[in-house]
């Protein structure tokens, strides 16, 4: 008999653990629901197949892109990015204190702290779960048509996005430095700003730059509901079947988003490797 090198009396463990009845039923239900979801979403291969000529027709009518309104479109594109940048900055600034309140283990164990903790988590969750397009509609009603409504919508959406990730990154930092500062007599606030925030900074920077990229994409869509930026130009071009102008706008958006993503990546690396303070 060949020597397997295995200790005697020890059975070779199975590759998979056999699921229990409940677990097996849960898997079956999950697979069934995924199949139903495709059905519910109206998934149709034939529609894709027959939609091909229509797409080709659109592309042939959209090419070459129109350069007629390039200066006006450039101004609208700049406005789109300005909305994204301003909204992201406001959102990140507001997120920080909210995230400190919403991070588990950062506040003291008092009833007031618990109220602040629960309220801030609820607020962040509310900001995150309501889509930015809905916020844009709300702010168009509140502050009127234009880029300010879009900026506010992006800011609120950013609070929802960054607030959650900032809080989670602060919860995940190593506890040692905080303990060291507490032992030295530092206050809770000092400990947060000296030990927790610097340790979570890489995550803050990455999240903020992702938020800017996300906001740049969102700010295009927000224009469709009158919240400023180049989105409204795209809607008008499509409504008037001016596909050549629409193609120009689509390509401009593509270049903007690509630039923001590339610059964000460079900035992220530069900041993370930066000199200490």
């Amino acid at each position: 008999m060949a020597d397997t090198g295995r200790p005697r009396g020890e059975e070779l463990p199975g590759r998979f653990k056999r699921p229990g009845v409940f677990q097996f039923c849960a898997y079956v239900l999950l697979v069934g629901f995924v199949i139903l979801s495709f059905q519910g979403a109206g998934w149709s291969f034939s529609a894709i197949l027959f939609g091909g000529p229509a797409m080709a027709d659109f592309l042939s009518r959209a090419w070459p892109p129109s350069m007629e309104r390039l200066p006006q479109l450039s101004a609208a594109l700049l406005e789109t990015f300005q909305m994204a940048l301003a909204g992201t900055i406001i959102g990140v600034v507001v997120s920080l204190p909210l995230a400190v309140l919403a991070a588990k283990g950062l506040s003291r164990h008092t009833p007031i702290s618990r109220i602040f903790y629960s309220s801030s988590r609820l607020l962040i969750a509310f900001f995150r779960t309501v889509p930015d397009l809905v916020w844009a509609l709300v702010f168009v009603i509140t502050v009127g048509l234009g880029p300010f409504a879009g900026t506010l919508a992006i800011a609120v959406d950013t609070v929802g996005f960054c607030g959650r990730f900032f809080a989670e990154s602060m919860e995940d930092v190593e506890k040692g430095p905080s303990e060291a500062l507490t032992a030295a007599g530092a206050s809770k606030l000092d400990t947060i700003f000296c030990a927790v925030v610097p340790a979570a900074m890489p995550s803050f920077i990455t999240t903020s730059l992702f938020a800017l990229e996300k906001a740049t994409r969102s700010s295009v869509v927000l224009g469709l509901v009158g919240a400023g930026g180049i989105g409204i130009e795209l809607k008008v071009a499509m409504d008037f079947f001016d596909y050549q102008l629409a193609m120009t706008i689509i390509l401009m958006i593509f270049v903007l988003v690509l630039c923001v993503e590339r610059l964000g990546s460079i900035a992220r690396n530069r900041i993370l490797e930066g000199t200490p303070r």
């Binding site: 040692g176 030295a184 007599g185 530092a186 610097p198 200490p276 303070r277």
Partner: protein, 271 residues
Amino acid sequence: MAQAQVQVTGVEAPVTISRTSTAESVRELSVSGLFKSFGKDKGILHGISFSVHRRESVALIGSNGAGKSTALRCALRLIEPDDGSVHLFDDEITSMQLSRLRKVRADVGFVFQKHNLVPRISALSNVLHGNLGRVGGMRGWSQLFASTALRERAMSCLDRVGLADQAMKRADQLSGGQSQRVAIARALMQEPRMIVADEPVASLDPIAGQEVMELFHQLTQEKGITLLFTSHNVEQALAYSDRVIAIRRGTIVLDAASNTLSLSDLSKHYG
């Protein structure tokens, strides 16, 4: 004054430490009947009592899980003890309000096994953090905002541990030995009456560990700082302490002057 001579091996060249005890009769730390458990059936400390006198160096030894680190943390209320009392300097701290406790903690430099420096920021800013118990707010957060006087004091602390030339290096780019030296400089920034060190050389190689213990030795002799440290290295425990306390399963099983003990007396408390 009691004198002790111990040879420390395990490093390239054996070092002979000659200690002169400068301990005074005043108690700096007095722990009485301390109990701590983490959940049911997880008792760590079972009513331990010990004291540390001014200018004394005390080594706390015991195997992993014996309760050494918990005892140190309970002594500063970094972990709340379940029962018992702790007198630190002139105050009973177990029932003390947090704001007052912070002032008491400011006089105790705590050095951790894993250094516990804040990564990504400079060694100088890390040292400045030692002063947060006295100067809080933005001026104490970073060397960017600190006063010139504070920056100079932090630099002199770094100079004392031989790392003035590394002041602007990121803490996470320092070696283990350098990190522990910065942690000691941070404790020195507190101008402490007492240093509590939890296995300060456990994560260092023998040479770096020896250097760190030597530094502690010099500081306690020069500045008259009281030292309480835990260690698994019985040679170092004997060489750098006036007194050794051994803990076994949350109970003190030995409390004796170092010059009355041999290595075999300490080794039997392991395993």
